[in-house]
Symmetry: C2
Subunit: 414 residues, 2 copies
């Protein structure tokens, strides 16, 4: 399915809401790179649709760039356009009822993943060197995994979200999708204002047992070789770890409580952020997003405090467990990209969303940075392997990813 | 000036935008406590004015409580009303052109401080046991200091800001103002979902030299006795420290670069968050706030990346320097509350704002929690002493504050 030499026009990909050319404001470390911006992030003089026509119609054009966009333009990068997002960022699939489904060039019959769907598609199709996305519960990591590219969810609170539409602020981050690890590192070095070391002397790398249990058998098999490479390169420091034991709980359905905890906090925050607009503007939503917002509206808010308490408990146990040079390793997603149109209307009733969010919630709950690496395929369809670092260790995490990739060039040949 | 036995009606204080009684949703750890909410934080069914009539007129009523409000109601507290804020939270003075200046009962001829002016006034006047405020650049800490009460700015990212109007998200926090340290701890334990230990075994407590240099001589003198008490209680661990040296810079005007760094990032974020509304709604602002927004609009955004770089550099040096049980100690504000009407129109031209923000920016830039304690007075006018902990050490910081206060009862007798 995948023809790496193929070139695409923006129109063919369906990745863009709008294309243009905003020149760099200065020469800098990103000179020569072109980036796209998820249409949840403000660009001066343009409307931010957040993937929903009613939102677009009920909000003025942006008076300023989001701070993250300005950082990139002043560092020498050129901005190419705005990319399709799941409505209000509420989805991991990338099937937008109004704006369509951006092309997953590695698997055209499958979804690109969302909510940073167009950003992933634009990068995977070679139209942009990197793209800005947002990641609340996996919206950079999952599309990066689905489309076979690199993705970073930074530590919460380290990349400015000013000018980015709030969704669930406790978990909201601005992340990066990129075609190569070095491009990811260049863009991240600007947004995080850090220097990424040439290599990383890691402590223990924990293979999160529950996440490997949760993913499809074929995903686990496809990741076996990269995991072996990891063990070889970081000799003697890679070991299986039960995250359930780390946080001092007894085994349940793997990561079930992480999933429930994440959803309750997220849904409460979504309705607090967007409920006023929903009730006032009475927006048209696609059918799946309509169901999603109804879940946030009817949430029993008496359950929120228990979820916050569990979240902070998990966070503290995990922080206490991980040294600043330790890493976690897990599959980025439970499966390769689902077939288009295969996901049901109710996210809680299907199998994909609960499994995916169970795995992605670790970074959100733990306030951890996560990088996903396109190091495996299942029958030619990409699947990512993720490394997570301690809170605030983004530069170190990226250095570890660089070390892994540099030592195993075959991982890059797909 | 201060008559501790005096009781006030809400009207006399000018602290409230609106009073009501929202009953607790359940029994819990806050049963029996009554709280007020800064009018920048959503309460279901009410409009959030953000201290500005145009904002009020251009936004719908809230469809849900902010998550932090729900946390308190479900933990047993009763909500009394919404309190006056500086417009859009843009100020440290508490003189709102439209909603007036809430009473500072300890110094009626002086400002209460802002932007959580009404929250501080309501607590200081004994109308609420505690109140929610927001603190971006000092908006909880400064009014708590001015009004002689306790205040907490939590670690960034640990109390939900969902349903709280974004201002400068990199620095925005929801904080607490309270009449006693134990009430502060009870409310914080709910919002942060943590248990505050009975006491704290601290490492080194660093007296931040530059902050003591920056404050008025009379403030330094007034704080000498509490600082001596600190040295006595935490014997052998309290020492003067130059924060300029910690971050590896050469001395300039004390904390001048911290101030400039903070302002550039904050102003860029404010305009990214609110510029679209300002340009579309063409709001009426009070004269001082009008000047403030103009500063954010005309900011040279080419300077933002250098400010972000310096901020992250300061953060990393400070994180590396502080152990998890170390504290910083500094005056909360450079002076007691200014006289009403004494502050000029241009915040950058006056003396008060640059000095205050220089001191408050340490917590913002460092992502550190800060608690201010009403342990001193200058001629009967309150001034706070602050303790700051490492990022995420909020429970430990509060335990250290408790230990200090418990060991020195005279500090509480004012």
């Amino acid at each position: 399915m995948n023809d790496a030499s193929r070139t695409y026009s923006p129109e063919e990909t369906g990745a863009f809401v709008e294309t243009f050319a905003i020149e760099p404001m200065a020469e800098g470390p990103l000179t020569g790179l072109r980036f796209a911006v998820k249409d949840l992030i403000d660009i001066k003089g343009h409307k931010t649709s957040c993937g929903n026509p009613t939102w677009r119609d009920t909000h003025p054009e942006a008076a300023a760039n989001a701070v993250c966009v300005d950082q990139l333009l002043w560092a020498g990068a050129e901005c190419l356009g705005k990319t399709v997002t799941d409505e209000l960022a509420f989805g991991l699939d990338g099937e937008n009822h109004f704006y369509g489904t951006p092309l997953n060039p590695k698997a055209p019959d499958r979804v690109p993943g969302g909510s940073s769907s167009g950003s992933a598609s634009a990068v995977a199709c070679g139209l942009a060197d990197f793209a800005l996305g947002t990641d609340t519960g996996g919206s950079v990591r999952v599309p990066a995994s689905n489309c076979g590219i690199f993705g970073l969810r930074p530590s919460h609170g380290f990349v400015s979200v000013a000018g980015v539409n709030p969704f669930a602020p406790t978990f909201d981050t601005v992340g990066i999708l990129a075609g190569t690890c070095e491009t990811l590192i260049r863009a991240a070095s600007v947004l995080l204002s850090c220097e990424v070391p040439d290599t990383a002397e890691t402590g223990t790398i924990h293979l999160v047992e529950e996440a490997f249990t949760l993913c499809d058998r074929e995903v686990k098999m496809a990741l076996a070789q990269p995991v072996e490479a990891l063990k070889h390169i970081f000799r003697g420091t890679v070991e299986p770890t039960s995250i359930t034991e780390v946080v001092g709980e007894r085994a349940d359905k793997p990561l079930q409580k992480w999933y429930e905890t994440y959803c309750k906090v997220q849904w409460a925050e979504i309705w607090s952020c967007l409920g006023g607009w929903v009730e006032t503007a009475q927006p048209k939503f696609g059918p799946r997003v309509k169901v999603n917002f109804e879940l946030t509206r009817i949430l029993n808010r008496g359950e929120v405090q228990a979820a916050v308490r569990r979240r902070e408990g998990y966070y503290r146990r995990l922080s206490g467990f991980m040294s600043s040079n330790d890493l976690l390793c897990l599959p980025t997603a439970p499966s390769v990209a689902p077939l288009k149109g295969s996901l049901g209307m109710d996210r809680t009733a299907c199998d994909y969303y609960p499994r995916a969010l169970s795995m992605t919630s670790i970074a959100g709950i733990g306030r951890l940075p996560q990088v996903t690496l396109p190091v495996a395929e299942v029958n030619g369809i990409p699947i990512g392997l993720s490394l997570l670092g301690a809170h605030g260790s983004d530069a170190f995490l990226l250095a570890a990813a660089r070390r892994l990739l540099r030592a195993t060039p075959p991982l890059l040949e797909k």
